[in-house]
Symmetry: C2
Subunit: 163 residues, 2 copies
DNA sequence: CCATTCAGGACCGCGCCAGTCCTGTTTTCG
DNA sequence: CGAAAACAGGACTGGCGCGGTCCTGAATGG
């Protein structure tokens, strides 16, 4: 499936939402404004806190705020914070498990390159790149500049694989 | 963990093993030479056959052989053959499922760029590149990373390499 | 002292994948 | 012509990882 966990999806939503308000925000407030169930939002925020992506404030009038600007958070870091290290197969270095057929395996150690390529792609995209800055549907009032290079790079090769 | 299924791992092993022998090979023989359990090898090869990656010959003295040269099979095609279309989240186009919080979601439709970047990376690496003797042709990964890079960077690199 | 809010777990049910197996069908060979 | 060899195409099931929830603390502010 090559699918990442649902919590990661929620995490991105929550982090982007956090960045859209300057002050501190409670988990309940974020749940209300995103539609994600409140316990799930709380769980995500706790993970994000221990990963150092958001800072928390306990007690009354407490809440969460981003620890770093959104542009300095690559998608890879969110994925790793929730799902653990990116390891496509059991045969990738830094993987926890070990491969049992490695003695006979003809592709031993060759997954590392694939893994690195994906990791690099995910490190290049920051959360700020995932925030819709209103250039596609129904432009907002302030169009600061014509954003070039919308990532519509679906080449013929890649679209051929989509289905 | 952004992990792909074990069957995909086996599929790569089996396909590479298929390429190392010129003649036709039985599923049992491949199982013996790779250490993968025979029923699993059979299952993988059936999927590969229906995907058009290997050709099969029934009956006594039958078996399997590669339908195309190893270098013309990207890793992405193997993954898609086994796991289905690559869709990181439920909110990616061409995904089967639908997202229920899309009305309030602040990152609606922004996963597509990430998905495309990964798809590009996986389409650039062929199975021939996974053989131990192969030269791995991806452009330089470990450049100093710009955290606020535009999301088209990875795609631009890979597509530029294809030309 | 009390309300609020986060911290850090434990907990459970569901869905999905891995692995096996069974019943055909096709082909070759004695 | 029959039997064996080998693939085709499913059904089936157990395990387990993930999602979602909840509960008991601890910190903070009024
Ligand atoms: S499958 Fe583990 S080393 Fe190749
Ligand atoms: S989470 Fe589905 S559209 Fe954003």
């Amino acid at each position: 499936m090559l699918r990442l966990s649902k919590l990661t999806d929620y995490a991105v939503v929550v982090l982007v939402r956090l960045s859209e308000e300057s002050g501190i925000q409670t988990s309940g407030g974020i749940a209300a404004s995103t539609g994600v169930p409140e316990p799930t939002v709380a769980k995500v925020l706790k993970i994000m806190t221990s990963a150092g992506l958001v800072a928390s404030q306990r007690g009354a009038r407490g809440g969460y705020r981003l620890a770093r600007p959104l542009a300095t958070i690559p998608v890879a870091e969110v994925i790793i914070a929730i799902d653990g290290p990116i390891a496509l197969t059991a045969c990738v270095e830094h993987s926890t498990s070990v491969c049992d057929t490695s003695s006979l395996c003809p592709v031993k150690g060759r997954w590392d390159a694939v893994n690195t390529a994906i990791l690099d792609a995910l490190s290049t995209i920051s959360l700020a790149d995932m925030r819709p800055t209103a250039f596609f549907p129904l432009p907002a009032h302030h169009l600061p500049e014509k954003r070039d290079a919308v990532p519509t790079t679906a080449s013929a090769l890649t679209t051929a694989f989509l289905e």
